[in-house]
């Protein structure tokens, strides 16, 4: 079991508030790892720390043994870490296809001059990117609406599009922030299947934040529980489910 992600004593404070408090754990390659906890527990902030969107106050983080503590978001993305957002952050005014194509920015090279001149190499690159993007769109059943503006899609479709965009980055580690939010039970079941399938097909490690506890229990190999920014339990679903501190944390939820 190789570690793909390791966080050590990660802390984030702003103002007087401690959003994430000395959280440490590691995620193994190929795992589907769940991150749960009551609202405001610091889960999304943790994702933001891991992806470099929020600066770390103290502590360290490593991706495949490389320290990413002070790295910028695009640098961390370049290492192979992709994510979706709790409040969907698609490029609303761009088409579905463009959204997916942009995520392949790091895997393409055309600069200003070659882009403007349209050299043979650039044209080939564009064709390749377009094909890869369309394939991804087909996988999530949105290929027929590839040239529709992303903001015009239904909520559930937007969520799927965001995942497709993240996959286009060709990541090794995929962070999904409440991918099932707003979905009905059928869609959630499909989502679980989908996660397993993309993990196998793309050889991914997935960390997901989810509120739906049954879904997380059935899908994840291991689960970490946050409460008030602190890690209160970590382990296999059965063990976490029966942990008294976890039960207490959720009593009000």
């Amino acid at each position: 079991m190789t570690e793909i992600l390791r966080i050590q004593g990660l802390t984030r404070t702003f103002g007087g508030l401690v959003a994430v408090n000395e959280v440490s754990f590691s995620v193994n390659e190929g795992e589907i790892f769940g991150l749960i906890g009551p609202n405001g527990a610091g889960k999304t902030t943790l994702f933001n720390l891991i992806t470099g969107l929020t600066p770390v106050t103290s502590g360290r983080q490593f991706y495949k043994e490389r320290e990413t503590t002070r790295m910028k978001p695009h640098e961390i993305a370049a290492l192979g870490v992709a994510r979706t957002f709790q409040n969907i952050r698609l490029f609303g005014g761009l088409t579905a296809l463009e959204n997916v194509m942009i995520a392949q920015h790091l895997h393409t090279h055309a600069g200003v001059i070659s882009g403007v001149l349209g050299t043979a190499a650039t044209r080939a690159e564009e064709r390749r990117v377009r094909e890869t993007s369309m394939t991804l769109l087909e996988k999530i059943n949105l290929a027929d609406r590839f040239d529709q503006q992303a903001r015009s899609f239904a909520y559930g479709d937007q969520r799927r599009l965001e995942i497709a965009r993240a996959l286009a980055l060709q990541p090794r580690l995929l962070l999904l922030d409440e991918p099932g939010a707003g979905m009905n039970p059928n869609e959630k079941a499909e989502l679980s299947d989908f996660c397993r399938r993309i993990r196998d097909e793309f050889d991914l490690t997935i960390v997901l934040i989810e509120h739906n506890v049954p879904m997380v229990m059935g899908l994840c190999h291991r689960i970490a529980v946050l409460n008030f920014g602190m890690l209160i339990a970590i382990g296999e679903p059965e063990k976490v489910k029966n942990d008294p501190t976890v039960i207490e944390a959720y009593l009000g939820d």
Partner: protein, 319 residues
């Protein structure tokens, strides 16, 4: 025809130059940056041409200035503006929204005051008697029109390329773009530098056209004009600023002609002749209210394209 060229030659050339200045504001805007720095680079470019033509390659009075040297000046202006843009842009583009706009306003004012005080730029008086490469204003079109067409082509192709996509992503959501691997600093500075280079080259050419160059060329008022072009013309596609600039720079002439109509009260005639800035200012205020995206929006294009549905294999046009 001769009469038309004589009367309107200058205006037509100015229209092409203003269109390029509008594009120079549009370039950083493609990456989501509202920068009001164009007048500063425009002034710099003009000073490069003015200083070079009066001190380095001097011609006798009445003699035509060799055109190749004008191109050299434009190249020098481009390099200088690129350098200054890098220097100013790298720190400044970490700012967003209002803060960036303010930083660019500050930059333009500093350029203006420095130019107002340096002997080489002629201080308050500026530089006079800049030689011309052409006998008539209309002839400048030989340079300015291809330059405009090239700029339009450049922006058109850029929008459909990988770099253009990166700009669009930054414009839509900078953080999400960064999370998808697009380096915000790198691409914002790139857009900023491209805008600066274009503005500088236009300034260099315009200095010859106008024959004099001083700090009144790169002022706050100029920023207002260019803003008006982009707001009225449309800020979401490259055609918008171009058409907005051509329309609005021709408008004062139309108004001036209208002022000559018989039967108008004298103050209305006066207003029509001198009220250009009143008009532009009001147009900006109205534009933000009624067409925040300007008159030429991508939706106009989308409706047309929806009629011919392209197959995925064919080139997909990114708007």
């Amino acid at each position: 025809m001769e009469g038309f060229i004589a009367t309107y030659g200058f205006l037509i050339v100015t229209m092409t130059l203003q269109a390029m200045l509008a594009l120079s504001l549009y370039l950083p805007l493609m990456a989501g940056q509202l920068s009001l720095a164009t007048p500063g680079f425009y002034a710099l470019g003009g000073f490069v041409a003015a200083v070079m033509s009066k001190n380095i390659f001097v011609v006798a009075n009445g003699e035509l200035y060799p055109l190749p040297v004008v191109f050299v000046e434009m190249a020098v202006a481009a390099v200088l503006c690129a350098g200054v843009a890098l220097l100013v842009g790298l720190p400044a583009l970490r700012l967003r929204g209002i803060y960036l706009a303010l930083a660019t306003i500050a930059f333009v004012e500093v350029v203006r005051v420095v130019a107002l005080n340096l002997p080489i730029t002629g201080q308050a008086v500026g530089i006079f008697g800049i030689p011309q490469p052409f006998r008539s204003s209309f002839d400048y079109l030989i340079v300015s029109l291809p330059m405009l067409l090239l700029s339009i082509f450049f922006v058109y192709r850029l929008e459909r390329s990988r770099v253009g996509r990166a700009f669009a992503a930054l414009r839509e959501d900078e953080l999400a773009a960064a999370a998808m691997g697009v380096s915000p600093t790198r691409y914002k500075v790139l857009a900023f530098v491209m805008g600066a280079v274009l503005a500088g080259m236009v300034g260099a050419l315009n200095a010859h056209l106008l024959n004099t160059w001083n700090t009144r060329q790169g002022t706050f008022d100029a920023a207002i004009l260019i803003l008006a072009y982009v707001i009225i013309g449309g800020s979401r596609t490259f055609l918008g600023p171009v058409l907005g600039a051509m329309l609005l720079s021709a408008l004062p002439e139309v108004l001036r002609a209208a002022a000559g109509l018989p039967g108008l009260a004298p103050f209305i005639a006066q207003l029509l002749t001198d009220g250009r800035l009143i008009l532009y200012g009001l147009l900006i205020a109205l534009g933000t209210l009624f067409f925040p995206q300007g008159l030429i929006t991508p939706d106009l294009f989308r409706r047309r394209r929806a009629r011919r549905k392209a197959a995925p294999a064919a080139p997909v046009e990114a708007a």
